[in-house]
Amino acid sequence: MPILRIEHLKKYYGKDPQTTVKALDDVSLSVEKGEFVAIVGTSGSGKSTLLHMLGGLDRATAGKVFVDGNDIFAMSDEKLTIFRRRSVGFVFQSYNLVPILNVLENILLPIELDGGSIDQTYLDEVIRALGLQEKIHNLPSNLSGGQQQRVAIARALATKPSIILADEPTGNLDSKTSQEVLILLKQMSEKFNQTIVMITHNESIAQTADRIIRIEDGRIVSGHAASSGASPL
């Protein structure tokens, strides 16, 4: 059962047909539950736009996005936000953290917004795995770019969401930390049956994915079909 299904998604900017920018031009895609999908493409190819659409951060000009059977764009703003809060973990390229909250509060934010209880052992595990134990009371302004990104990843994992959408999550990390983070993500995703959609420039990271989707000028040029799942067991 595909957890993500995109049908003829279009995102155009501008009204004048001559100056319209086509960020996404008729994209269709489906992702299975538990799949790890990497999205690659040149700058401005529309990958970030695609990711934003998947999380319901932005509205499309045309087309539909179904997440776990829910038509995202048919949902009200309120319900969409709640859906995001519970089912999606975001890692952005930059400006991930709420500047007025410290690291711990940032990580716990989606849980607290839902009024839910905190799984302390699990969180401790995640924080330790990302090497953030020393910094949990720091404010984002006191962290390096890489540390901020790790906090964002911790936050994305905190609610054990069904989907993790990451935009260059290892962009600010050195290669060793990148690998560790990737392993952590994969472990978590297996344990909690999570789907990962990750935008990356890094070919070696892309290779570890179940499927690589290439985008060029707002269209998918390869990686449409889900791979036959030859998992290295």
């Binding site: 538990g34 319900k79 969409l80 709640i82 519970r86 839910g116 054990k160 069904s162 909690f192 049956n193």
Partner: protein
Amino acid sequence: MTSRNDVRSSKRGNFIFSAILVLLVSGYAGRVVFLEGKQPALTELTVLFVSCMLILGALWNWMLRRQVTAFMNSVDEMVDRAIHGREKLTHFDETSLSSLEHKLLRYIEINQANEQNLETEKNTIKELISDISHQTKTPLSNILLYSQLLAETPELGGDTRLLLNQIESQSEKLEWLITSLVKLSRLETGMITLQSEVTPVIATITSAVSHIYTRAENKGISVQIACDPLTKARHDHKWTSEALFNLLENAVKYSEAGGSIRIAAGGNEMFTRIDISDTGMGIPGNELEHIFKRFYRGHSAREYEGIGIGLYLTQKIISLQGGFITAASGVGTGTKLSIFLPQI
């Protein structure tokens, strides 16, 4: 414990609040009446006021209770739907019920995924086992073949012949070991499905005996069967025969020449019992509880051949059929193993 305390304290809280309300309302009303003097209009009004307040309070209380009950009912409904995979009760609402439902569904989903993973793994193991057994057959039979061929070579030195014998017997042992292990793994992963029927046990017994007869005769041990042809039990003929064969094998192995083995079968209320008694060396009391364990070899049995999985296998087979096995023995007085199989 805690929930009972909570219930009690909430009941107490309820009572306290109602009491305070009643006291305040009636106190105020009474004081007003007292201050203003006995005027019928005022008294009427006061009485009306007091009763209205009380009724209102009671109504509100009842309404709140109903709300709580309704809420619990929806929680119940929500859990039901989740368990049975029906449509969700709430859809991304900003309510604790919705949050709870999401948590539950997520948990179920993760569990199901894990289950599926396990399933996949099991299947992989199944394939592995079948692959191994397939793969080892050929090399083993080859080894046996070549050793036999070698044995037929004329002018083989005595030492060489001895070595060859060793190779042969070890290979046979190896073959037996692998077969047993494969059987064992099959049993353990539940890949074996036993087909049990209610049939006379005499056939199964004779089948098992037939396999051991030659060896017993060679060793000079007599075998006796005492079984009514009508005695029936629900069992898988093939596998139970194998189980019985294991026991008989042991009996022969651990008995001296001239000993005897007696197999007796009889039906009871619920179970059909098959006893296999021998006159062998017996099992010391302190080891009796361990004999059915995997790879267990008794102290004195060490001198003999064997790996220690025969009894384990037997017990597995019997218990999978819904029966059980017991043992009675004494050192030097022989061993009696009793198998109980369900009758229906």
